[in-house]
Amino acid sequence: MRRMMTGNQAVVEAAVRAGCRFFSGYPITPVSDLMEYMARRLAQVGGVFIQMEDELGAITAAIGASWAGKKSMTATSGPGFSLMQEGIGYAAMTETPVVVVDSQRGGPSTGQPTMPSQGDVLQARYGSHGDYPIAVLAPSDIQEVYDLTIKAFNIAEALRTPVVLLMDAFMSHMAEPVSEGEYEILERKVHPPGPVERPYEPGEDLVPPFPVFGRGNLVSVTGLTHDEKGVPRPEDNRVHATLIRRLFGKFERRKDLLEDVRTMGDGRRLVIAYGMMGRLAEALVDRGYRLLRPRVLWPAPTGPLKREMAEADVVYVVEMNIGKYSLVVKRVAEELGIEVHSISILGGRIPTPSELEAMME
């Protein structure tokens, strides 16, 4: 059965389906109605909702709830996403599963609260200080909003990591039919009750089992550089390097979850686009273009990028920002000696397929 949902509703329904039982947020356009819908929905399923005093509190409360064993999330837009970066870095360092929705609007600063944008695509990857990996997902229609929200929770749980779902102001409020089929739901590995000596000792997959607070694991968790016992070791260069390399290593081992692209068409002119622009660029496939549409933007899909570019004479990266993701594509293209054109769309007005094609000529 298919139901009509807006993007914001699809996030809520999929999150609840994935097992999310905690949401902390702060009102901001264009996700305020996501939060309103969540406040009602979580009450129905025995969850908890709290409207926090700001986005700093929203992300950190969600992380706190995750340590109580709850699948948790928050949602925001540009200005709030900037405030959440410290929390995202903390979640990366302490390996806390948490999902953050960023519905992008035009920026910088307050910018264009009601207009779509893809200006946060690098911030989502690199927004917090220091070296850390993160997964960033970009749906192109409302069905994908639903599917990728579930996937975001699965990645967060399986890898013990923060995950960002990048939407935009348009997608938040656009409504389409969504079918809620069968989904695999992943849960985090947890320590059995009782004291745990080495809470950060990783398994085969480099992911340590999660010590849920209140089960007598008696662990101390810190955002400082820590060894496998969780003891702060901020001045030990080897402990720091080992920890950071393991964080990246656990991402490298889960290509099955993290390499997720859609390809269409077979022309020699390759269009690379994601999110709302990915949906727009699909219209060009009938006009003789090949399309590569990453659904997981970060880690960058280097393998598929190389494969598709090897079949192309020219590459266009279409995005609603100053040309941010094209930098990633250019880095890969340099090795292959292929020309990359950045098609940069600013202002929040989505062009028609013909207008887009004209920009590319």
Partner: protein
């Protein structure tokens, strides 16, 4: 519960300077837990950044050492994620009153079911002794080398006015009262706040002719006045004075109870 049942012996020696007041408060905390027969497994401690914030890692409990200022917000999520858990925030004045002031205000307003112990040494100890919102007038810090001209924040008074169930201030010179206040907070629902004025001989005393911690304890004792004598506005005195005592002790419904009434936690 012996001392070494509550603290992690394997993590000794700790980072605190000789003469620091944090150890005195930890001792009072352990005694309060022991006298009321608390089980550490049922407690989680949350802290922010600073000297005091390092203390929970020495306790044999689940502890979350978080971001600067955000301890109360993390603790809010943790408590709502598992309302059966007793959650205590243990952090300093820079962390809770300055950068975390907004979270303090709103947790107190919500009567969030948390215990908060704020150790107030009047400066930023870990970063080298800078001015904090709780530095008393006239005293020297590294960022007010001519003496503090800034007004002082009455944190315990603020929390009381926001409707929290419990708010008190004592100093390490009244360490028995500190222990008694913790015992009073333990069984209470809602937001319970205890400010403990404490000595930092290294970065505060040294710059104010009180490098010997005994001098600082003497100073705190001599400059303390009970709230019953000066009323709740004592903090706005422009002389160095510590108003001590209990500013609020009420039994309003806590946030968890109100969430339950609203329909959360149980599916329907």
């Amino acid at each position: 519960m012996s001392f070494w049942d509550f603290f992690r012996r394997e993590r000794w020696p700790h980072i605190f300077c000789p003469g620091c007041g944090i150890g005195m408060v930890l001792n009072a905390l352990w005694k309060a837990f022991e006298e009321t027969e608390q089980e550490p497994e049922k407690w989680a401690f949350v802290s922010g950044i600073g000297c005091t914030a390092r203390a929970p890692a020495y306790m044999r409990v689940d502890s979350l050492h978080t971001l600067h200022g955000r301890a109360i917000a993390f603790a809010t999520g943790l408590k709502l994620g598992n309302p059966e858990l007793n959650v205590m925030v243990f952090s300093g004045d820079g962390d809770i009153a300055s950068i975390g002031g907004n979270h303090l205000i709103h947790a107190a307003r919500r009567n969030m079911d948390l215990k908060v112990i704020m150790i107030n040494n009047g400066i930023y100890g870990m970063t080298g002794g800078q001015l904090s919102p709780t530095t008393l007038p006239g005293l020297r810090t590294t960022t007010t080398p001519m003496g503090n001209y800034d007004y002082t924040m009455g944190t315990a008074e603020l929390v009381a006015h926001l409707g929290a169930n419990f708010s008190a201030r004592w100093t390490t010179a009244h360490i028995v009262m500190v222990k008694e206040a913790i015992k009073r907070m333990i069984p209470k629902e809602g937001f319970c706040f205890l400010e403990v004025v404490s000595q930092c001989p290294t970065n505060f005393g040294r710059r104010n002719r009180m490098e010997d911690p005994r001098k600082m304890l003497q100073f705190m004792k001599e400059h303390s006045v009970h709230v019953s004598r000066v009323g709740q506005l004592g903090a706005y005195f422009e002389e160095p004075v510590f108003v001590v005592g209990t500013f609020a002790d009420r039994d309003r419904k806590g946030y968890v109870a109100r969430l339950r009434e609203a329909g959360y936690f149980e599916s329907f």
